[in-house]
C-alpha cells in the first residue's frame, strides 16, 4: 500500500481503490443497463476506460492537422 502511494501518488491510488470498490459493488448487487449489451459484467468500467483512451488517441492524432500557430488567423 505504502509502495503504491509512493509510486502512484495519494490521489491516483484513491481513484484506483474507488475503481476496485465499484467493481466489487457490481458483484454484490445486480446491475442492469438500459441496453442488453450493458449487462455484460463490468461493461461500464471497460467502456469508460477504453473511451478515454480512444478520445486521447484521436485527439492527439488530430493535432497534426488541426493545430496551427497561435497567430494563424492574424497572418
Amino acid at each position: 500500500m505504502k509502495y503504491l502511494i509512493e509510486k502512484f501518488g495519494k490521489i491516483n491510488t484513491s481513484v484506483l481503490f474507488l475503481c476496485i470498490i465499484f467493481l466489487i459493488l457490481e458483484l454484490i448487487g445486480h446491475r442492469h443497463g438500459e441496453t442488453s449489451i450493458e449487462d455484460i459484467l463490468f461493461f461500464p468500467a471497460f467502456f469508460g476506460y477504453l473511451s478515454c483512451i480512444i478520445i486521447f488517441k484521436i485527439g492527439v492524432s488530430l493535432r497534426s492537422f488541426l493545430m496551427k500557430d497561435e497567430d494563424y488567423y492574424d497572418k
Binding site: 459493488l25 441496453t35 467502456f47 473511451s51 478520445i55 486521447f56 488567423y73
Partner: protein, 565 residues
C-alpha cells in the same frame, strides 16, 4: 391589450437607467429589476399580453409548462451574473447583461414568430457588447463576425415567419413541420443559434474573446434560447437525433487538444447542447423533460465553470492551460467551486448533471436507439475527460506555473458558491427539480444500476486519464490555434475569393487596355484620313459631303420603299 408586463421587458427598459446610478445602488437596482421581472411568472399559464399593430396581433407574453423552467433558470442566471460582475465599476457591461438577459427572457414568452424575431435580434445586439468589452483587437474582429452570424440567423427566422404568415394567415410560435419551406428556414435559424455542426464556429470564436463577466452571461442565454425554441417547435423531429448525436461526439476531440480553457468550455458547451438536441429529437415526455432538465442544470454548472475560469482570467490574465497550473493554493475556493462544476457536468451521482442526463439516457434506452445511446455514453466519458478533469487539473494542479496570485473577489466567490450549492441541491433532491419540468412523470434516477454503472464509467475514465498523465503519455499543452468550422469563412472563403477577385481585377485591367488600344487605333485611323488628299481632307471635303448626302438620301429612299411599297 397589455394586461400584464411581460417578464424580461422591465429588465430591458430598466437597463437604460443603469448608467446614471452609482455603483452600489446600481447593483441593488439590477436585483430589483430581476425580481420584478420574475414576479410575472406567478401569473400562471396562458396568454397574458397582446399588442395590436396594423391588424397584426403581437403576443408578447404567453406562458406554459415549457416556458416556466426556462424562465426560472434565466432569472436565476441573471441574478448570478449580477453578483458575479459586481466588482466591475463601469456601467457598460451591466447594461449589456441586463438587457441581454431581459431579451432572452422576453423571447421565451413570445407567442408569435415576429415577437420572437424582435427579441431574437435583441439578444444579438445586446450581447455583442460583452465581446467588445474585452477591448482587444481580436475581440473587435470576433464581435463583428458574431453579430453578422447572429443577425443572419434572425433573417432566416424572419423569412420563415413571413412565409408562414403568407401560407397560413398567422405566425403563431408553435410546432412546425420540417418538410415545409418555412419550417426549414426557422429550423436553420434555430440551428445557427444552437451551434449545429459546421454552424458552430461563432461559438468557439466569440465566447472566449468576451470579458470574464461576459462569457458567463453568454454561456447562459443564446444557445439555451435556441434549445427552448427547438423544444417548442421541433419536438420529435427525427433529424435532430442525428444532428444532436454528432454534436455530442465531435467537439470532444477539439476540446482535448484546445489550450485555451475557456475555449475548451465552449466545445464542452457544444457537446452538452448535443445531449439536449438528441432528447428533443426523441420527443417523448421523458425525453423533453430530459432536454429541459439538462438545459436547466447545464446553465448552472457551465456557468459555474465559466465563473471559475473567469476568476482565473481576472486574477492571472490568462486562461491558457500551457501557462497555468498550481493555482489551488492561491485560489482554493475558486478551485473547489470549479471542481464541483466539473463533477456536476461529468454527471457524478448526487450532482445536477446526473439527475438531468439520466432522463435523456433512459429515454434513449426506452426508444431502443442503441447506437445513439452508445454515442452519448462515449460522449459522457469525453465530458469527464475535457471538462471534468482537464479544466480543474490544468488550471489548479498539473505543474507549478510559478504564478503567484490571490483568491477571486468576494462577489465572484459568492456567485460561485451559490451556483455550486444549486448544483448539489438539484443532485440531492431531484424530485423537487423534476416538479418544474414540463411533464409530470415518475422517474427515479437513483437506482443501483444507474449509480454503479455511472460510477464505474466515470472512475475508470478518470483512471485512464491518470495513467496517461502519470506515465507521461499525455502530451504537453501548447500555445496554438485549433481549426474549427469558422475556418471556412475566416480562411477558406477569403482564400478562394481573394485570388478570384485578383483574377477578375487583372482581366478587367486587360480589357481596359484592349479597349484603349482599339480606341487609339481608331483615332489614329481617323486622324490619318484627315490629312491631305485623303477622303476627309478639308480641301476635298465639299465633294465628299455631297457623296455622303446622296448616299443617305438613297438609304432613306430604300427604307421608305421597303416599308410602303
Amino acid at each position: 391589450m397589455i394586461s400584464s408586463f411581460p417578464p424580461g421587458l422591465i429588465m430591458m427598459i430598466g437597463a437604460l437607467l443603469i448608467p446614471f446610478l452609482p455603483h452600489i445602488i446600481r447593483q441593488i437596482y439590477m436585483m430589483v429589476l430581476i425580481l420584478i421581472s420574475a414576479y410575472a411568472l406567478t401569473l400562471g399559464f396562458g396568454i397574458h399580453s397582446k399588442i395590436d399593430v396594423m391588424d397584426f396581433e403581437f403576443i408578447i407574453f404567453q406562458s406554459d409548462t415549457l416556458t416556466l423552467p426556462f424562465a426560472i433558470i434565466f432569472h436565476i442566471a441573471a441574478i448570478l451574473n449580477v453578483i458575479y460582475g459586481a466588482h466591475e465599476k463601469h456601467w457598460n457591461q451591466h447594461v449589456a447583461i441586463m438587457s441581454y438577459s431581459g431579451a432572452a427572457i422576453a423571447a421565451v414568452h413570445a407567442g408569435d414568430l415576429f415577437t420572437l424575431f424582435i427579441w431574437w435580434e435583441a439578444t444579438a445586439f445586446t450581447s455583442v457588447f460583452l465581446i467588445l468589452a474585452s477591448k482587444t483587437k481580436r475581440s473587435y474582429k470576433s464581435a463583428f463576425r458574431y453579430i453578422l452570424i447572429q443577425v443572419g440567423s434572425g433573417m432566416f427566422l424572419l423569412a420563415g415567419a413571413i412565409l408562414l404568415m403568407s401560407e397560413t394567415g398567422n405566425a403563431e410560435f408553435r410546432n412546425f413541420d420540417i418538410n415545409s419551406l418555412y419550417g426549414q428556414l426557422i429550423f436553420i435559424a434555430f440551428g445557427i443559434k444552437a451551434a449545429f455542426p459546421l454552424l458552430n464556429g461563432w461559438l468557439q470564436d466569440s465566447y472566449p474573446e468576451a470579458s470574464e463577466i461576459g462569457t458567463v452571461a453568454l454561456s447562459t442565454f443564446t444557445t439555451k434560447l435556441a434549445i427552448f425554441c427547438f423544444a417548442k417547435s421541433f419536438a420529435g423531429t427525427e433529424i435532430l437525433i442525428i444532428i444532436g448525436a454528432i454534436m455530442t461526439f465531435y467537439p470532444i476531440f477539439f476540446a482535448v487538444i484546445e489550450n485555451d480553457l475557456r475555449r475548451v468550455l465552449t466545445y464542452s458547451l457544444n457537446n452538452q447542447l448535443g445531449f439536449m438536441i438528441v432528447a428533443i429529437g426523441i420527443g417523448t415526455e421523458l425525453a423533453i423533460n430530459g432536454a429541459v432538465a439538462h438545459a436547466f442544470a447545464h446553465i448552472l454548472y457551465k456557468g459555474l465553470l465559466f465563473m471559475g475560469m473567469g476568476a482565473v482570467l481576472y486574477r492571472v490574465g490568462t486562461c491558457k492551460a500551457s501557462e497555468l497550473g498550481g493555482l489551488f493554493k492561491f485560489m482554493p475556493i475558486t478551485a473547489i467551486c470549479t471542481i464541483i462544476g466539473a463533477i456536476s457536468i461529468s454527471a457524478f451521482p448526487l450532482f445536477s448533471g446526473f439527475v438531468a442526463k439520466s432522463l435523456i439516457m433512459s429515454a434513449l434506452g426506452k426508444e431502443g436507439l442503441v447506437f445513439v445511446y452508445f454515442m452519448l455514453l462515449f460522449a459522457s466519458a469525453g465530458v469527464l475527460h475535457h471538462s471534468g478533469i482537464k479544466i480543474p487539473f490544468f488550471a489548479f494542479f498539473a505543474h507549478e506555473s510559478g504564478i503567484k496570485t490571490k483568491e477571486a473577489p468576494l462577489n465572484m466567490i459568492i456567485a460561485m458558491i451559490i451556483a455550486s450549492t444549486l448544483c448539489i441541491l438539484i443532485g440531492v433532491f431531484p424530485s423537487y427539480f423534476y416538479e418544474i419540468l414540463p411533464y409530470q412523470i415518475q422517474y427515479q434516477p437513483y437506482d443501483f444500476s444507474h449509480v454503479v454503472g455511472q460510477l464505474q464509467l466515470l472512475t475508470f475514465a478518470a483512471f485512464a486519464f491518470i495513467c496517461l498523465w502519470h506515465f507521461k503519455i499525455y502530451p504537453p499543452e501548447l500555445n496554438s490555434t485549433v481549426l474549427n468550422s469558422d475556418w471556412i469563412y475566416r480562411k477558406m472563403i477569403p482564400g478562394i475569393l481573394l485570388p478570384l477577385l485578383n483574377l477578375i481585377n487583372d482581366i478587367n485591367k486587360k480589357i481596359e487596355q484592349l479597349v484603349e488600344f482599339i480606341f487609339m487605333y481608331i483615332r489614329k485611323f481617323l486622324a490619318n484620313t484627315m490629312i491631305k488628299n485623303k477622303v476627309f481632307d478639308r480641301e476635298v471635303g465639299q465633294d465628299t459631303l455631297i457623296v455622303v448626302q446622296l448616299f443617305i438620301i438613297l438609304l432613306i429612299f430604300i427604307f421608305v420603299w421597303k416599308i410602303y411599297l
